[in-house]
Structure formats: C-alpha cells, structure tokens
Amino acid sequence: MSENKTEISVEALRAGDREEFSRLVDTYSGPIYRLALKMLGIPTDAEDVLQNTFLKAFQHLKEFEGRSSLSTWLYRIASTEALMLLRKHRPEITLSDAEPEDDDNSDYSPSQFTDWCCLPEDEFLSSESQAALDRAVQHLPETQRIVFVLRDIEGLSIQETSQALNLSETAVKTRLLRARLRLRECLSTYYGERLDKRSKE
C-alpha cells in the first residue's frame, strides 16, 4: 500500500487527533480488508479482522516507534489478527508452522509443463479466471499464503514482509518461492484445461 499524497502525521495520531486517525483508516482500510479477504475467504471474517486491526492500532499508537513504516506496522497487526482468526477456526495451525525451512524444495518440483502464457488476454480477465486465482490462493498453506499476499498482492518488499511477520528474510523467501511454485502448478492445471478446450473449439 502506498503512503498517501498528504502524509499521515504520526505526531497528530499520537496526540489523539481523531480526524487524522479517520484519514489513517481511509488510507489503509482498502489494503487491510483485501489482505483479510485473501487470507480468510469470508467477507464477515475479513470485516472482523479489519475492525480489530484499527481498534488495536488505536490502542497501541503510543507504542509505535517508527522502526518500520506506518503501513508495515498496520500490516503486522492485520496479519496477526488474520492468523489468529484462522487458528480459532482451525486450532492445528501455528504461525511458525512445522514447515521445514531448509533448502530441500523437492516437494515443490514442477510437474506441469504446459505453456499457457499464449492464451488470449480476455481469458485472463474473465470472472471465472479471477475465481480460479482466488481459489488457488485459498488452497495455499496459511503460512505461505500470508507471505504471498503481503509480497505479491500487497506489493511489500522482502524486508517489509519479514518485518510484518517477524520472520527472517530467508524464511520469507523460502515460503514465497514455495507459494509461487504451488500457485503456478494450480494455474497450469486450470489454464491447461482452458487451452485444451479452446483447441477443440
């Protein structure tokens, strides 16, 4: 999320300026809501995360030290809230997850080699295609999904993602690579079928 044209004043926020806080909410609620929706897939859950994120931000503004940007700080609160809600629904999930962070990516070796990049542009813009993109993200393990959403949907850098999730940059990179490879497999299946269908028409 890009910092707004007229920058939000951290001093004003800390001093309790409510109008400035409403500007903060309007600037960042779009990206926070999108992150929550991608993580949870259910609009009412995403709304809970959105509300809790700004309630917590309001409560903890005095503790914001400016070591990261305001946006990264908000993403950090929102990511924690989203993962906490996921864990409530499915207690077996943990943020640090038992997923190995080693260099062994053999489980992620590609198995689909169809080149679907040549499909016409309207194929990628259809609502069916958008739903397939959404489904693929929903199928990622939660700890990969949060990294992918922050980095590739919200556009954070590796460093910002690592700050938002309190993970090492190496762990962020490993999870990102695995998420991207999994998504490529999923999309290759979907677009491969589309390619087949078109060639038969």
């Binding site: 999108r34 959105l50 700004f54 309630l55 679907w116 993109l133």
Partner: protein, 86 residues
C-alpha cells in the same frame, strides 16, 4: 530428459523466485539463462511463473475498495461517525 539435466533443473529451482524478481546475482542469472535456453520444461516453468505473479499483481490492482456498508460499520465501531462523510 537426461539425469544430468534433471539435476540441473532441481538445483536451479531454489533461485527462481529471486530470478523473476530481478534480485539474483549476475552469475546465477546467466547460469539460469543458459540452462533455460536448452531446457524446454524449465523455459515453460520460468515463463508461467512470471505470468502467475503478474496475474496476481493485476488482480490486486483491480480490487482494493472497502464496500460502503463495511466502511460505515468500521467508522461507527471506532467512534469516528462524525468523519464518515469525509
């Protein structure tokens, strides 16, 4: 595909994310490019990986608005009702 080539594919897999992000060192980039020029499967993997990421970038650019009723409820929860019209 020969066994030698396959082990090369696997050894380069770990670098693909940095490669498509443009954050990989020159030497490794050249190694990947040399391999991809000869290995059709890896060529497809790199192209479709790039396309996958770019589809999600476009996806993000399109959907970023909070629905009006959600914004309204958010402002009320935060006791910011008076700024709702802004």
């Amino acid at each position: 595909m020969s066994e030698h080539e396959y082990s090369k594919c696997r050894s380069l897999l770990g670098f693909l994310s940095d490669y498509v992000d443009g954050s990989l060192g020159e030497e490794l980039c050249e190694e990947i490019e040399r391999h991809v020029a000869e290995c059709q499967n890896c060529h497809v993997v790199v192209d479709t990986l790039r396309k996958t990421i770019s589809l999600y970038h476009e996806f993000a650019a399109e959907a970023g608005e909070v629905p009006g009723v959600v914004r309204e409820r958010l402002f009320r929860t935060l006791n910011l009702d008076e700024y709702l019209r802004h």
